[in-house]
């Protein structure tokens, strides 16, 4: 009996963030039209230029077709069946501080392991939490303001810092960039806005947690980070969603602007609901993330992708300025029926630009995991350098691991190196562990952790631990 209970518990444990928070929310009827775009804009009390900007994106989107080139298969998304705006009702008049936040919401974040006050204070991390489509709480604003750092929901930034938003929004990912980016530009409801002034080193880690709660809604958040000359910022985002039978859509856009001599480090721990063991439900994660690095600037993407039913995500760097640096460190794990098509683009424009790509794909169960990357050396990229390594690990004989690296070079002094390997957790490795009294599941988890070590060491320390645990949970039941 007790062993049964244990099994039950384990199965239930698969997706720990799968609860639904029961709070009243303000959701508009499904469907998308110019009126809906106007409604969202009006709901946010946005100025005219912002509404126009959205409408331009919406009109572009109407003419675009959904991309089909990725190595993923899913039933067509009916964009008219989704609701494009959902906000917790009690947020209608925004809380001024954390104390005013709906305690139900706070408990949600605590369940997620995101205690907004104490632990983050100890960890020294400022958090912006986005619940469904609305930013619910931003911590440490005052402290950050002292340093001159602006960290707030983008909906507020539109009002408080229109000059910055106007200047940078859409400059990295234009409205017409791709199907999902256009959709996001039209209907995005919130997200984080960060501005680090000249020469400032952001005093703490910045962080955003995203959560989809409401059923039949899509989440479209938009993040804009601007690091002014000589500044430095490290930013982390985390994502979760409830367990639901239907597929939900998440189409975010992240734009990073690293001006001369600045540095942005952007880390993601993505744990959207991946669907159940039969592949039912789960989030469709179609995300556009791109950074522009100016002279001597550095942009570093680190991602740990364990969730989502379907992932379509390519955090990219446009290395525009001379000597700029782009990095991409990724661990993508798929289990059961998950599908991931993820990778990066490194566009080298400036002289002596450098990029590093380290990608680790792990596929288990019946999942498909693809790395798709582009390294482009433009005719102006003298002395540019790229190193790419993408390794895949297969666990079980029904999954797939794929690699599609595109390399385009137009400059003789640019050097591109690409390496990829595919292997499995070998019987020898398992035998060695088991011989020393480590059970199979633990052994696999150890081997996988070792496989991902190069990427984990790039994560902020607190999250490296979390990421390791996340992999362990996600792999449960995939061996033996």
């Amino acid at each position: 009996m007790s062993s049964n209970a244990e099994i039950e518990r384990r199965i239930g444990n698969d997706y720990q963030a799968g609860f639904v928070t029961d709070i009243e929310s303000d959701t508009i009827a499904p469907g998308l039209s110019e009126d809906v775009v106007r409604f969202i804009s009006a709901k946010k009390g946005e100025p005219e230029w912002m509404t126009e900007w959205r409408l331009k994106a919406f009109r572009a989107w109407q003419e675009m077709a959904e991309p089909t080139w990725a190595h993923v298969h899913y039933p067509e998304v009916d964009f008219q069946a989704l609701s494009y705006y959902s906000a917790p009702k009690s947020m209608a008049d925004k809380p001024k501080s954390l104390d005013e936040v709906d305690p139900e919401l706070l408990r949600t974040y605590e369940k997620l392991g995101i205690p907004l006050h104490e632990q983050m204070a100890l960890a020294g991390i400022a958090v912006d939490a986005v619940f469904d489509s609305v930013s619910v709480a931003t911590t440490f604003r005052a402290k950050l303001a002292e340093a001159g750092v602006i960290f707030m929901p983008i909906s507020e930034a539109v009002h408080e810092h229109p000059e910055l938003v106007k200047k940078y929004l859409g400059t990295v990912v234009p409205q017409r960039d791709n199907f999902y980016a256009a959709l996001n530009s039209a209907v995005f409801s919130d997200g984080s806005f960060v501005y680090i002034p000249k020469g400032v080193r952001c005093p703490m880690e910045l962080s955003t947690y995203f959560r989809i709660n409401e059923a039949k809604t899509g989440q479209f958040e938009r993040t804009l980070i601007i690091a002014d000359e000589g500044s430095h910022v490290s930013y982390l985002e985390g994502c979760t969603a409830p367990m639901r039978d239907e597929n939900q859509l998440h189409a975010a856009v992240v734009e990073l602007i690293a001006l001369d001599n600045s540095e942005i480090k952007y880390s993601t721990v993505q744990n959207w609901y991946p669907g159940d063991k039969e592949g039912k439900g789960g989030i469709y994660n179609f995300v556009t993330k791109r950074a522009v690095a100016h002279t001597n600037a550095k942009v570093s993407w680190t991602q740990v992708e364990t969730g989502s039913a379907v992932t379509w995500k390519y955090p990219s760097c446009v290395l525009k300025g001379d000597n700029s640096v782009g990095e991409f460190y990724s661990v993508a794990l798929t289990n059961n029926y998950q599908q991931a098509d993820t990778g990066t683009k490194m566009i080298h424009l400036g002289k002596n630009t450098r990029s590093t790509i380290i990608s680790k794909g792990i596929s288990a169960g019946k999942s498909q995991n693809a790395y798709r990357g582009l390294v482009r050396m433009n005719p102006t990229a003298a002395g540019a350098r790229n190193y790419t390594q993408c390794d895949s690990l297969l666990i079980g004989d029904q999954c797939g691991a794929h690699t599609f690296p595109y390399i385009e070079s137009k400059h003789p002094s640019a050097v591109v190196e690409h390496e990829a390997t595919t292997s499995t957790v070998s019987d020898d490795q398992l035998f060695l562990c088991r011989q020393r009294g480590i059970d199979t599941e633990k052994a696999v988890s150890m081997i996988v952790n070792g496989f991902c070590k190069e990427v984990f060491k790039e994560l902020p320390m607190e999250f490296a631990v979390e990421a390791g645990k996340l992999l362990e949970v996600s792999l449960e039941g995939s061996v033996g």
Partner: protein, 456 residues
Amino acid sequence: MAEQFHAQQLALATEQARNPLLAALNAAGQQAFAAASVPNRKTEAWKYTSLHNLLTGDFQRTASQSDLTAGLREVATLGSLKAARLVFINGQLSSELSDALALQQVTLFSQADAEQQALISQHLGTVLAHASSNNSGSAHLFNDLNNAALNDGVLIHVGKNQRLEQPLQISWLSSNNPQPFSITSRLLMVLESGAEATLVEHYASDEQPQNSFTNALTELVIGDNARLQHYRLQLMQEDALHIGSTHVDLARDSQYSAFHLGLGTRLTRNDIVVNHNVGGSHCELNGVYIPQNQQLLDFHTCIEHKVPHCTSNEVFRGIMNDKARAVFNGRIHIHPQAQKTLAELSNKNLLLTNTAEIYTKPELEIYADDVKCAHGATVAQLEEKAMFYMQSRGISKKEAEVMLSFGFINELLEALPHEDIALVLRPLLAHRFGRDQSLSRHLLENETAGLSGENA
């Protein structure tokens, strides 16, 4: 533009196809070609390969009768290679230069006896057909066009446990014609179990400016324990256009080792598809592309591992000069049943100028877990340290460049199992790199002492 080309080629194909033995294949090809659309830059497998020169080239007729010039005679000897030859000039057999028809293993589709006709019906088009299911883009409309227009071809049948001592050289030569024209060529080779052979496919032309478009298709059926060494040398003049496909079927414990060389043409597209159909087979696929001036050379390779216990090793190298462009797409596809596969691919490229371009994409698509697969790709220029080393010893910069480029390719030539062919290729490549004879002179002094006199 594309529609016009499509319509013209379909009309030409219908007019050309007259062999009753091939009627079914022709009809299927014409139907498939009529239904297919001409790829453009949005077609994934043709993303970097512009067909502009082909589509605007007015290739709506076959060649008129052409003379056997001294230039063609010289080219046909392929550097005095000792081989049994079949020589075609603008698609027509030149009986004067061909001696291979004397061999019982070699015949033309149009001269096949009943037994050989049965072989043709059994195999022709079947190897090619695998490509339509592999989703790699190598099943394109030019294959359909070849099927549609096919009137004659070469059949090579090596019987059980037979061993062909001499290499078989099949030369498809083109010469200048008053008007642009198309050539459709086809080769079917069947090796029965335990057979062994060396095949040299040679595409070349005389020194005149060319106005031909060659659509060449080769199907190789390699039986149990059979071994084939395959050299496919594309040495046409720089105005010619060439679209070629090589499709290979491998049976139990068979071996296919190939060397593909791309030097000529304004536009080349080469698809190479190797199907591991039964366990124990091994494929060694190597190649070199060296475009210069305005050339565009495109190699798409696809290794299909369909069954367990097969191995493949692929090495392609390229050197891009002037305003040339090269495309390499190397795909390894491991099917779910293909456990215990070993597959490797390496692609190294040198860019010599600011205006040259390379697009490379090594692909792995893996659906089985107990496999070892790796691929690597690099793009760079000649190593600075090596250049410095040579210059510090009094070798001019230009000369050092030539020597290092040659060395980069020569590594592959040295691995060729057939030394005679390496000896034929070295002077060709040395000449290519040197351009100016005085620079390439040194390259051959040590390398090919045995061949002195022939390269002068």
